[in-house]
């Protein structure tokens, strides 16, 4: 039975790299006693497909992965068992059978928070004519203006600092990771530490429909 699993990765779990997450999930299924279809090949491993890798340091309440469960288990039972096999800061919040294809993912929404001293700087950073990021590929560093792709939905400044909701392109067609975006911001002014909170909260398809 193919199932989609939605899970959160919060607090200390934001330091678990994608590779470590794959290993963690593999073991979690084993601990949960959930038999998952394995990859074919020399060293068969449970075949787990993730929607979109999450950068280090970024939390999420919206992660998605697909597996094929080889037992007759209800979604509720899968969720309960899997949560028993997962570390504290990774929690399954939903299991369902009728997920949309991952290739339709096009955007992701993030909640971003900064302390007060960064609020004005962030305001001018996103309102400048261009937002330059540097990506390295085999031909060397490439500068890209990502301004057209960044959509600030909400920007509140209060005594606790800035609370922002923004959307970045995510998925197979065009992808801007939150780390690259944050890197550009922290490169735009003098600082020796990067204080932020970032959490991925939703995925969307091309038409702006909530992806599930």
């Amino acid at each position: 039975m193919p199932v989609r699993i939605r899970f959160s990765k919060t607090d200390t779990a934001c330091f678990i790299s994608h590779l470590d997450l794959v290993r963690c999930m593999t073991r979690a299924f084993q601990r949960a006693g959930i038999s998952v279809r394995r990859s074919q090949g020399y060293n068969p491993r449970p075949h787990i497909v993730f929607a979109a890798p999450l950068s280090l340091g970024i939390e999420s309440t919206a992660e998605l992965m697909d597996v094929i469960v080889e037992q007759d288990l209800s979604p509720a039972e899968i969720m309960q068992r899997l949560n028993g096999g997962l570390p504290r800061d990774i929690r399954v919040s939903d299991v369902y059978e009728d997920g949309m294809p991952f290739r339709q993912i096009s955007k992701a929404r993030y909640n971003l928070k900064f302390p007060e001293q960064y609020a004005r700087l962030f305001d001018s950073f996103v309102n400048a004519d261009r937002i330059m990021t540097v990506k390295k590929n085999k031909h060397g560093p490439i500068q890209t203006d990502i301004k057209p792709y960044v959509n600030i939905e909400r920007f509140d400044i209060g005594p606790a600092g800035a609370d922002i909701s923004l959307i970045l392109p995510t998925g197979p067609d065009y992808n801007i990771s939150m780390r690259v975006f944050l890197g550009a911001f922290f490169d735009s002014f003098e600082n020796d530490e990067q204080i932020f909170y970032a959490c991925r909260t939703d995925f969307f398809d091309k038409n702006g429909k909530l992806f599930r």
Partner: protein, 591 residues
């Protein structure tokens, strides 16, 4: 600021941050206000190394089984993380609670190898605890050490309040109960010094020896059914069961073979039960059958048969880290490669029969050939061989023997598989022999750095094929190890100077700085040759004579004399060698 916040602010500067944040599956979090004892279990090396260590896993869960105790893990932060912690004045913390360990009741280090001693000082300093025992009043935690290197506690005696000698399962609970009944650290240490296996430098009665703790029936001892499962890959990232403690072989260079006596095996039934529960609870896809010499375990066939019935359908592979060449069989090979092929490592230790007789290794060239034949016929195209260099009585002929063995194995491989076979890989790992306390070689001189270099150059100059890769350990590292392992109390000062000069992670090539050590010895007025490369007289008082590990000095002397006559001593299972251990604890084969 919490450690996770600190790391997040400097994420670009920290390698593998998941080493510093805890939260792993299987880690134990308790309510700090609901426990009486907070114990910081420190491994004085990186997380990646420490999390592979079985003893820590056993004691971590043993302590946490107690309602009144919360045991947390602490590792040496890597240099990037240390720099950050020092910059923000963040004291060393327990991974579970993130609370500073200087507020704990105990800071306990496990001593697995001598080259981690500078890390201990560094960790105490990072914890914000004065290094010297005498500078820590009752408001500071008890600093204690255990593990194999504690059998010569001299180098660390100024820094450590209490050394626990021997098996922890039975006496750890005794120690914690005593702590609870005492009014303060001083009273606790004074009373702990009365317990047979505790060495408390401050209250030690020089007329009494500290006797190593030995558990009689390993089968009835606590064994965890859960491990902490790390996120990041560690050196040995797998489930492990300890099949036995001790070894019957009596190799004369081997400290473990002497100080873990007597030979105590667990029953296959208990082991199977432990293994299945561990695999189920951890989700690991590999289980290691751990011991000093797993192919010697009597119940191996029964255990592995039953274990495979469970493992194969689950795609869990079985590995055995320590196999001997004289009892390796096709059957064992089939079992360890039933699910996944793993590497094969054997330790002939020396290149000629004469020298193997000197060290009482009791394996022959025919054994080596036979084992390699089984491996090659079973499809292996790589073997790893461990040897030592600088063994007592060694000549260049013995070194040449190592290359001869490798060349011979290569011929064998192509004879079996034909000239067009897949390329063979023979990895030879050559360690410099370091004489260790409580071995028949404890009186010997270690070879000097120059002699180690000469021997290495000679060995590398011998013709060998490109399929044979020889890796030699750094003779300078071994020299420091040698000084530390047979240290007396004066070495404590050199250790301090070395740490002051910035020595840490001495076991790591990229951090080891020999020149700093030379300077440290100079400042502490220590002649390193006196410790490493001096032959002791048999009647010399040895710093570790304050400890009784269970075997007698007469036995060690007897073995020493046999060694120089190149005479072997039979396996304990064939004939008792009279080591004296059975006075304290009878193992499975003791008369």
């Amino acid at each position: 600021m919490k450690p996770q916040e600190l790391i997040k602010r400097h994420l670009n500067d920290i390698q593998k941050p998941s080493r510093y944040i805890g939260g792993e599956f299987g880690s134990v979090v308790k309510d700090a206000s609901a426990v009486d004892i907070r114990y910081a279990f420190c491994f004085p090396d990186l997380y990646d190394i420490g999390m592979s260590h079985l003893g820590m896993k056993i004691l971590y869960h043993l302590l946490n089984e107690r309602q009144d105790t919360w045991c947390e893990r602490v590792f040496a932060p890597d240099t990037d993380m240390e720099a950050l912690m020092r910059r923000y004045s963040m004291p060393l913390y327990g991974l579970e609670s993130k609370d500073p360990i200087r507020d704990f009741d105990f800071i306990g280090f496990t001593l697995q190898y001598e080259l981690c001693y500078t890390n201990i000082l560094n960790m105490l300093d990072l914890a914000g605890v004065p290094l010297l025992s005498e500078e820590r009043d009752d408001s500071y935690p008890v600093v204690m050490c255990g593990g194999p290197c504690a059998c010569n506690p001299s180098a660390l005696a100024d820094y450590v309040d209490l050394f626990f000698i021997g098996d922890g399962e039975e006496y750890f609970p005794v120690l914690l109960d005593l702590y609870k009944s005492c009014a303060g650290k001083s009273e606790f240490l004074r009373r702990a010094s009365q317990i047979s296996c505790m060495y408390v430098p401050k209250y030690h009665d020089p007329n009494k020896k500290v006797v190593r703790a030995m558990v009689e029936d390993l089968d009835r001892m606590y064994y965890p059914s859960q491990f902490v499962v790390p996120f990041t890959e560690t050196v040995h990232d797998r489930a492990m069961i300890e099949v036995m403690r001790g070894c019957t072989r009596g190799c004369r260079f081997c400290q473990a073979g002497m100080i873990y006596r007597p030979y105590r095996q667990k029953s296959p039934k208990r082991l199977l039960d432990c293994a299945v529960r561990l695999c189920e609870n951890t989700g690991y896809d590999e289980i290691s059958l751990s011991s000093l010499s797993t192919s010697d375990y009597e119940g191996l066939a029964e255990l592995t048969d039953d274990l495979l019935d469970y493992c194969v359908p689950q795609s869990i592979s079985i590995s055995m880290p320590s196999l001997r060449v004289d009892n390796f069989t096709k059957n064992i090979l089939d079992k360890i490669s039933a699910v996944r092929k793993s590497g094969l490592t054997f330790a002939p230790e020396a290149g000629t029969q004469r020298l193997r007789d000197v060290i009482n290794k009791n394996v022959t060239d025919a054994d080596i050939e036979n084992t390699c034949r089984i491996a090659f016929e079973g499809g292996a195209s790589a073997v790893k061989l461990y040897f030592m260099m600088g063994l007592p009585t060694e000549t260049d002929e013995d070194l040449a023997g190592i290359v001869n063995i490798a060349n011979h194995i290569e011929d064998l491989y192509y004879n079996i598989n034909g000239p067009k076979a897949r390329k063979l890989k023979i990895n030879i790992s050559l360690a410099t022999f370091v004489p260790k306390p409580f071995t028949p070689f404890q009186w010997e001189a270690q070879i000097t750095v120059e002699e180690a270099k000469r021997k290495q150059d000679y060995l590398m100059s011998l013709p060998h094929s490109a399929n044979i890769r020889i890796h030699c350990s750094d003779g300078r590292t071994s020299r420091i190890e040698g000084v530390m392992s047979r240290a007396d109390k004066k070495i404590g000062k050199a250790l301090y100077e070395a740490w002051k000069l910035g020595c840490k992670f001495d076991a790591w090539d990229e951090h080891f700085d020999y020149d700093k050590w030379v300077e440290a010895f100079r400042r502490a007025n220590i002649c390193a040759d006196d410790y490493a490369s001096r032959t002791r007289s048999e009647d010399e008082h040895l710093p570790w004579d304050i400890i009784d590990v269970g075997i007698s000095k007469e036995f060690l002397l007897r073995e020493r004399r046999l060694a120089f006559k190149a005479q072997t001593t039979p396996d304990c299972r064939r004939k008792c060698a009279g080591c004296g251990i059975n006075k304290y604890c009878k193992g499975d084969v003791c008369p």
